[in-house]
């Protein structure tokens, strides 16, 4: 019990002195994770769509060759970035580009670090999302495509209006997964000097030698971020599903029931004019 009280006191002291640093770290982590997840999803959707363009033996060879090439490139991209650690990719790109271009391209200063981190986390997320999106598209019932084709939709229209909205719903849990992984895994970006939440811990612990209290604080911080994220994602899923009930449309201004038809010249069935004619 004494230890616990001491821990809270230590955390209190740390927060008093370094609270701003922790908050800045958290903010940077959030910005990086959100942006990279969004860009990663866009990359993933692009790759997933390119990967599922159908072609048959009857198509011209140029189209087939092009599609095969695109699929090959996407495949290599996915396998390379899924198959290597992100921490290494960060180093590879951050130091590799200046190395190969004789410092013509380099990530200068704070902006450079931000840019490099964004790029690395985004393409990493994209590699995972490419497969998720492909799976999401495949999992939509082929009958949906046939239904769309049968009313004359092109491939692009079918994708845009019928398949992708359903695929997006299917992969939303995957997107959430990736976002939460990104929240935590952006911590490896400290390797190129990015000051996110975990980097704050390193500097604070280095200055105060209070490793455990700082780590405890970080644990709570990360957990708070991920819990809020998963709560928000559940809420979005619910919103997308729409309400489970529907209203019966009994009255619709555009439609007419029998007997309410009005002729432009002769009027309706209950007009006086009609009755006069009946009386003749």
């Amino acid at each position: 019990m004494d230890k616990l009280i001491q821990l809270f006191q230590d955390i209190g002291k740390l927060w008093e002195k370094y609270g701003d640093s922790y908050i800045t770290g958290m903010r940077n982590t959030l910005i990086l994770a959100v942006t990279a997840t969004v860009i990663g999803c866009l990359i993933g959707f692009l790759c997933g769509i390119l990967n599922t363009i159908p072609y048959s033996k009857n198509d011209p060879w140029l189209k087939r060759a092009l599609l095969t090439l695109i699929r090959g490139i996407v495949r290599v991209y996915v396998e390379v970035f899924r198959g290597t650690p992100m921490v290494l990719q960060a180093v590879f790109i951050f130091y590799g580009l200046p190395y190969f271009t004789d410092n013509a391209v380099q990530f200068k200063g704070n902006e450079g670090i931000w840019l490099a981190s964004m790029i690395v986390v985004s393409i990493n997320t994209g590699a995972y999302m490419a497969e998720s999106v492909r799976g999401g598209i495949i999992s939509v019932d082929p009958g949906q495509t046939e239904g769309a084709k049968a009313i004359g939709m092109t491939h692009v229209q079918t994708m845009l209006h019928v398949i992708l909205p359903q695929a997006l719903r299917n992969i939303l849990p995957q997107i959430g997964n990736n976002f939460i992984i990104n929240l935590k895994d952006t911590s490896v970006m400290f390797i190129i000097g990015f000051t996110e939440f975990f980097a704050t811990h390193k500097s604070v612990a280095g200055a105060t030698f209070k490793y455990f209290p700082s780590a405890a604080l970080e644990m709570v911080g990360y957990l708070a971020m991920t819990l809020i994220a998963s709560f928000l994602l559940r809420w979005v899923e619910k919103k997308l599903d729409g309400s489970s009930s529907y209203d019966l449309a009994n009255v619709d201004p555009l439609t007419m029931t029998a007997g309410t038809y009005n002729h432009p010249q002769k009027g309706g069935p209950f007009d006086d004019r009609d009755r006069k004619e009946d009386n003749k």
Partner: protein
């Protein structure tokens, strides 16, 4: 003779080595209500899917007002907007309401205005008796209701001919009637229809021509009275006997 809409010449379709359709010839004239009957696996559905180009024919031609649509140069999606199709499994768009299902094709393919599309959709939804359900999602309505919406969706595109691929086979018995009634009304209004069906009563009473298929060929065709009352081929007799006994 009335105007010819579709003419199928020497149509063949193989899946790998399996030849499903062998040298099919037949025509669809304006106002025809044609029932295609036959045992499962005789190629009825494949024939229908070939006509709508959901399957690419292996050889032969499909003439739509004289143009061969099986030719690669013809844009399949343009042709399909003139030929409606109703599927066994409904294939309503799950991410849209009933009303949106009937509007999307009109707006995106026929480039109608939203107001015009809505008016048209409501007109046909009323016709199939689904007007109260325009706000429902497909998963919230029954099979028979889904199929009636699917018919309205196809009709809203103002197709010249409507293809039905076993429209009642996936339905519970008590829902078959509501769909058949809608189809019967359409036939009476002069809609050109090509119906693959196992509903012999419908084939006999509603259609003006019955096509009997067996093993990938058209075995016999003619008026319902001839095919049902006086079948010429042994295959037809066997098939009809089996149906009567079942």
């Amino acid at each position: 003779m009335s105007e010819m809409i579709l003419q199928v010449n020497h149509l063949s379709k193989s899946f790998g080595k399996h030849e499903v359709l062998k040298d099919i010839d037949f025509t669809v004239n304006k106002g025809d209500v044609i029932s295609v009957i036959g045992a499962s696996g005789s190629g009825k559905s494949t024939l229908l899917r070939c006509i709508n180009l959901l399957e690419t024919p292996t050889s032969g031609e499909i003439l739509y007002h004289g143009t061969n649509v099986a030719d690669r140069k013809v844009k399949a999606h343009e042709y399909r907007s003139h030929v409606g199709m109703v599927f066994q499994s409904f294939n309503l768009f799950n991410n849209m309401t009933v009303l949106q299902n009937c509007m999307i094709g009109q707006v995106k393919v026929l480039r109608r205005s939203k107001a015009e599309a809505k008016e048209k959709a409501l007109y046909f939804l009323e016709k199939v008796g689904m007007l109260p359900y325009i706000n429902a999602k497909p998963r919230q309505i029954s099979g028979g209701q889904k199929q009636r919406v699917a018919i309205a969706r196809a009709l809203a595109m103002d197709p010249e001919v409507l293809l039905f691929d076993e429209p009642t086979s996936a339905l519970d018995p008590e829902m078959v009637g509501e769909v058949l009634t809608v189809m019967q009304n359409l036939a009476q209004e002069g809609m050109t229809m090509l119906v693959v069906t196992h509903e012999m009563a419908f084939a006999r009473d509603v259609s003006n021509r019955v096509v009997f298929m067996a093993n990938g060929v058209i075995c016999e065709q003619g008026s319902p009275e001839d095919v049902f009352g006086n079948p010429q081929r042994q295959e037809t007799k066997d098939f009809l006997t089996r149906f009567r006994n079942a």
